[in-house]
């Protein structure tokens, strides 16, 4: 087994054995139950033309909006315990390239994220089977949009995972690194797309600059893709937004590699 996979295996097992996974899954289950309860109790799915689309939007929102918060925690916890417990120093003393460690951690994180995706999707499938009429047709329609959901979910999660990790590598003080990770999330998911902020830029500097600033937010990018139900449709119509999300991830991954290779992590 290559070194990268060995690091990935160790990281993956660490994640699965920690109490964190229970909390993360509990977090998703609570969000799922509350969202589904709201949908079913208010008959929101019965009063729309395309209930699967409505459900898909909620599902994608749960995955990306709340999921990216989980990604910040994952990125932070993947490095913080090893830095403070000096395990990283031991690992760096082994005959391993530093980028092997980072790659291993990322592969493990992607595996972990995929498991969470599987569990959440299963919950939604069960929800459809239990609460929505003529489930098979709707279930098939829902299953067909899963690849698109996975792609967008992965792009969101990887970015916030990498940002959080990067903050911890660059900034020695852990609480500040954590703050920066969350701050990035708040800026890109909450602050920038907010009408008060973007609207003010819009009015003062003009619509083009306002749209440009607003377009930097993940929420704005996702909002533009919510209407589509297949990967081809999104890539053809909103390919630029997907490219922007991929570019964010790419830049984040490159920066985390550079920082980890050059930074003294002790």
């Amino acid at each position: 087994m290559s070194n990268t996979l060995m690091v990935a295996k160790k990281e993956f097992l660490d994640l699965l054995n920690s109490r964190l996974i229970v909390l993360i899954l509990a977090w998703y289950v609570i969000v799922f139950v509350l969202l589904f309860y709201e949908l079913v109790s208010t008959d929101q799915l019965m009063n729309v033309d395309n209930p699967v689309k409505e459900l898909f939007i909620r599902y994608l929102y749960t995955l990306c909006y709340y999921g990216s918060l989980v990604a910040v925690v994952l990125g932070f916890s993947s490095m913080s315990s090893e830095i403070s417990g000096k395990a990283l120093n031991t690992l760096l003393a082994k005959p391993l390239y530093r980028d092997t460690i980072i790659r291993g951690k990322m592969i493990a994180a992607v595996g972990f994220i995929a498991i969470i995706f599987f569990v959440i999707s299963l919950l939604y499938v069960l929800g459809i089977l239990l609460f929505i009429g003529s489930p098979l047709v709707k279930l098939n329609a829902f299953l067909s949009v899963l690849p698109l959901a996975f792609m967008l979910y992965l792009l969101c999660m990887i970015f916030y995972y990498v940002v959080s990790m990067l903050a911890l590598i660059v900034i020695r003080e852990q609480s500040l690194a954590l703050f920066m990770g969350f701050l990035f999330w708040i800026l890109l998911f909450y602050f920038i797309p907010n009408e008060i902020f973007t609207g003010s830029i819009d009015y003062f500097f003009g619509e083009r600059i306002g749209r440009f600033v607003g377009g930097m937010s993940h929420l704005t990018m996702l909002n533009q893709m919510f209407g589509y139900m297949d990967i081809q449709g999104v890539l053809v119509e909103k390919g630029f937004e997907v490219m922007k999300m991929a570019l964010y991830c790419f830049i984040g991954i490159i920066l985390v590699h550079i920082a980890f290779l050059r930074r003294d992590v002790s």
Partner: protein, 266 residues
């Protein structure tokens, strides 16, 4: 000087040097500047109500929610760095060798952060209000401005202090990563969920939520602090039960913190 005040003074001076505070300050400055720039174009266009109405209801009311959310987030980050961070860094072990009661340590920290939060709130409120006055002109009565903004800041302060107490409690019970996930879940459910899932699901029990108490106390429809047509004393009479309940929650969470911290092996 009493030990509790010595700890509080130390905590306050540590916070002044904390980079989180600097970054938060810069963010608030950017927000205030952008908001004022946009306001310079939009506020004069409002045709509803008189100048005072636009100043309070639009000028101040627009940033009401975002500012409250930012301060909740800020309280969470400071709370995490205050207890969970110090526990994981084993700084508490050093502190416990000093001739101090454990409850003095916790109460001192709480007091120090509390005073700092009040200081920060007053500063940010003054900054934002001054910017609005510069671009749009002040209200006709300075006393009304000080009274209403001071009350708004106080109610928000109570809400922030509750968040702080809760995060400290989580830092006492759980390890850093777990405390972090649960605090984050609390902040996102209370402040970052656009659909307000928890209050809807709880029905009448929503009143126990500190965020709901804060909203009911400050800007409940029909009893809005920023509505200048509503006399201050009538607003206060209606809002007082919610303010008292919020204060009671703060006291309860502080007492629980002191009790648990005194008993727990750190």
């Amino acid at each position: 000087m009493m030990p509790i005040f010595m700890v509080a003074k130390n905590e306050f001076s540590m916070l002044l040097r904390n980079p989180i505070v600097t970054i938060f300050g810069v963010l608030m400055m950017v927000f205030a500047s952008v908001y004022a720039m946009g306001g310079s174009v939009t506020f004069p266009r409002f045709q509803i109500g008189d100048h005072d109405f636009v100043f309070f209801y639009v000028g101040i009311g627009n940033f009401y929610w975002m500012l409250s959310m930012f301060f909740a987030f800020f309280s969470m980050c400071i709370g995490i760095s205050s207890i969970a961070d110090e526990r994981s860094n084993h700084t508490f072990s050093v502190l416990f060798t000093k001739p101090l009661y454990r409850r003095d340590v916790l109460a001192g920290k709480f007091l120090g952060i509390g005073i700092f939060m009040l200081f920060a709130l007053v500063l940010v409120f003054s900054l934002l209000t001054s910017f609005i006055i510069i671009v749009f002109g002040g209200p006709s009565s300075l006393a009304e401005l000080v009274l209403r903004m001071g009350t708004f800041a106080f109610v928000l302060y109570l809400s922030c202090i509750f968040t702080l107490g809760l995060v400290m409690l989580l830092g006492i019970i759980f390890n850093k990563a777990e405390a972090l996930v649960i605090s984050l879940a609390y902040i996102s459910f209370e402040w970052l969920t656009p659909t307000g899932l928890i209050p809807q699901s709880l029905g009448d029990l929503q009143i126990i939520s500190p965020m709901i108490l804060f909203v009911f106390a400050s800007c409940r429809p029909g009893n809005d602090l920023l509505m200048t047509t509503l006399p201050y004393d009538i607003w206060l009479a209606n809002a007082l039960p919610f303010i008292v309940l919020l204060l009671a929650e703060v006291v309860i969470v502080t007492l629980i913190n002191c009790m648990l911290f005194t008993r727990e092996a750190v």
